[in-house]
């Protein structure tokens, strides 16, 4: 049988065998526990991405990555969120909703800019219809570049954030 083929029961096994991911998950869990106690809640806001970061974020919850079991949840309202995860180069049409979402999130709060668009290197950054990057509208704590970043890169970015919070406090 080929490496490409995963038997259903082997799916999780193969995933557990991935040493890098295993280590990342372990560190993430430990980091979240020491920084937040139990878990962090993330509200995702799309302000003009090409849709691929959203696909990768949904993929983070699939059985391969399954980040919910390590203490990360995606929530329905900014009012329930510790972290706002913003994608896209912030279109003019989305500036007000983004500001409102930021104001609605309770303090302490952190912002992640995800993807090249949100970080300021996006392809449409010079267009008349966009602002260019998230940090021109709301303060950003961590940037995760990529077009789009892979699930592993997103997990690394989340780890960077929790480590930062651990170091700097609320």
């Amino acid at each position: 049988m080929n490496k490409f083929i995963f038997q259903t029961t082997k799916v999780i096994k193969k995933f557990k065998d991935d040493e890098e991911l295993k280590k990342l998950h372990f560190e993430l869990k430990r980091s979240i526990i020491s920084a937040f106690g139990r878990s962090i809640a993330i509200r995702e806001i799309d302000t003009g991405s090409d849709g691929s970061p959203e696909i990768e974020l949904v993929n983070l919850t699939n059985p391969y990555y399954d980040i919910e079991q390590y203490g990360i949840t995606f929530v329905a309202s900014p009012k329930h969120a510790d972290v706002l995860l913003v994608t896209g180069s912030v279109t003019h049409n989305m500036v007000t909703p983004l500001r409102k979402a930021y104001e609605a999130a309770p303090s302490p709060k952190w912002v992640i800019a995800l993807g090249d668009d949100a970080c300021g290197n996006g392809i449409f950054k010079d267009s008349y219809a966009v602002i260019g990057s998230v940090d021109k509208v709301i303060p950003v704590d961590i940037k995760i570049p990529g077009n789009p970043p892979t699930p592993i890169e997103i997990i690394k970015g989340l780890l960077e954030l929790t480590e930062k919070i651990k170091k700097e406090g609320y």
Binding site: K3, F4, T47, G51, S52, E56, L57, N62, S127, Y128
Partner: protein
């Protein structure tokens, strides 16, 4: 008598321009466009695209281009009309024109007479008055917005009045990991009386941004329009340019392109299927499909170096050849995929609570399909065989290797669920066949670019994507892209009527339309 002669008799001023294998061009005066539309409607044409171009073919002003399609004809009829004085809206004849004409009003600042809805479309209320980005006089740059939006300038939604009727505003930011859009429901009890969608929150100015860019650069932002239509849009773009410049791509490149396109169709539709099952609260059933999607994305990474096949398709072929060993691995995997997919799918169909939610929910009437130019799996679930791979075969591989599509008549969520599943199985079969008869040779051709304009149509995972490009001095002069989502979004407003509010997410997911490729 052919329709061309028939039209010529009724309207002597009509001029027939050049004609090629896929398009026929005609020029008419702006006064006659409404009357001609009426005749075309009788001749069973339907409108698939309408847009404007400034400074086109020695005319300094704005030229409107109407693209009509006839059900049994492989050729498109392209009607061009100069805007010299008042122009009448053709929305009373072809309802989809209302959206295109609102788009043209925002973009070029021309006004249509008797346009039923003249609210702003992609420029929301904070854009300055008199700002029309698609005009050539505006050079793309960051602009200053209004400081304050007056109450009178705000967007007005339809409101249904009566005892017990109330409104539910949803969005632009939604509860899930999803793009923004505003939905305004008018509800009585739990039943939806009316839904109005307001989009273009993600308007990034793609069409203007493309202007004066080099043709090679263009592919970068075509790929950035929509993540899960990357290959479809890149393919449409390259095909249009290859048609203009008369570039012949190697056979191996054509096979690889179709391979990538079908891989994309599979992962995109797998997401739809998994999402529908999630929305009826059955996550364990959905995870099977999420697993398969992750595996397909990993296959894509092995094939092209990008999980979304970004950068895989270039003008003249594909950027990187695929090693035969990788193709062999993919063949083995697809074998496993097909059996795994079928068993997971059958398990869902056996689940009574899932079927209970799927059946008779969100019905889209067959009559709407041609009226609103609905395409893709959603049209095939409403009794019409709409598939560009069949009706405008842009690659001979499809004519040779594709099995006939499954068609269902019910038009409900269950029908769409089944059609999407059968599309996936069909695509998997195409991939297996492609790998078996993959020809040897080079994977890209050398080319020399020429000026000119052209259309191309492809079938993305959501339906018909049509692209127009005009190249002047080896640079893009005008790029217009209309994805399947632009038309298919209208279907949701009809599909939800009479359903209960909690079924809306399910109906929405069963269509799974793209926000980014609608908003551009």
């Amino acid at each position: 008598m052919s329709y061309k002669n028939q039209l010529k008799q009724l309207f002597p001023s009509i001029i027939y321009n050049e004609e090629n294998d896929s398009e026929e061009y005609a020029t008419v005066t702006s006064k006659e466009i409404l009357e001609i539309s009426k005749i075309l409607k009788e001749l069973q044409f339907h409108l698939i695209l309408e847009f404007g171009i400034e400074n086109f073919k020695n005319y300094k002003g704005i030229t409107l281009v109407y693209v009509f399609e006839k059900t049994d004809s492989k050729k498109l009829l392209i009607v061009q009309s100069k805007v010299d004085n008042d122009i009448e809206s053709i929305a009373p004849i072809f309802p989809t024109a209302a959206l295109y004409e609102r788009e043209i009003q925002d973009g070029f600042g021309i006004e249509f007479k008797q346009l039923c809805d003249s609210r702003k479309l992609f420029l929301h209320e904070h854009y300055p008055k008199g700002f029309h980005p698609l005009k050539k006089s505006f050079i793309n740059a960051h602009i200053k917005l209004k400081d304050k939006v007056l109450l009178s300038e705000e967007y007005i939604f339809k409101k249904i009045k009566g005892e017990g009727v109330y409104q539910i505003p949803v969005g632009p930011i939604h509860a899930g990991i999803i793009a923004p859009g505003h939905f305004r429901f008018n509800v009585l009890g739990e039943t939806i009386l009316n839904l109005e969608i307001r989009h273009f929150w993600k308007h990034r100015g793609v069409e203007k941004y493309a202007e004066n860019k080099s043709v090679e650069e263009g592919i970068l932002f075509i790929e950035s329009i929509c993540g899960d239509e990357t290959v479809a849009n890149a393919l449409a773009y390259c095909m249009a340019i290859e048609k203009v410049s008369n570039i012949k791509i190697p056979e191996r490149a054509e096979y690889l392109r179709v391979l990538f396109a079908e891989m994309e169709r599979i992962y995109s539709l797998l997401g739809d299927i998994a999402g529908m099952i999630i929305d009826v609260a059955y996550p364990s059933g959905a995870s099977q499909f999420f697993n398969l999607r992750e595996e397909i994305l990993r296959c894509d990474e092995k094939l092209t170096g990008s999980r979304f096949c970004k950068g895989a398709i270039i003008i003249g072929g594909v950027s990187k050849d695929v090693h035969s060993k990788t193709l062999k691995e993919l063949e083995d995997y697809m074998d496993y995929f097909s059996s795994q997919f079928t068993s997971s799918f059958l398990r869902i169909l056996e689940n009574a609570s899932v079927m209970d939610r799927f059946e008779t929910t969100g019905i889209i009437n067959e009559k709407l399909v041609e009226l609103l130019n609905l395409t893709g799996p959603l049209a095939r679930a409403s009794g019409k065989n709409k598939d560009e791979r069949v009706s405008h075969p842009y690659s001979k591989i499809y004519t040779k290797l594709m099995d006939p599509n499954k068609i269902l008549n019910q038009g409900d969520v269950l029908a769409r669920f089944r059609i999407k599943a059968s599309t996936i199985t069909n695509s998997a079969k195409i991939i297996m066949k492609i790998i078996k008869c993959m020809p040897d040779g080079t994977s890209s051709a050398n080319y020399a670019l020429k000026d000119g304009c052209s259309f191309s149509i492809v079938e993305s995972s959501r339906g018909q994507n049509i692209l127009y490009i005009n190249i002047k001095n080896k640079k893009i002069d005008r790029l217009k892209i209309r994805t399947a989502s632009f038309c298919n979004w209208c279907a949701i407003e009809h599909a939800v009527m009479g359903n209960i509010v909690p079924d809306f997410p399910l109906i929405n997911k069963s269509l799974n339309l793209s926000y980014e490729s609608n908003d551009l």
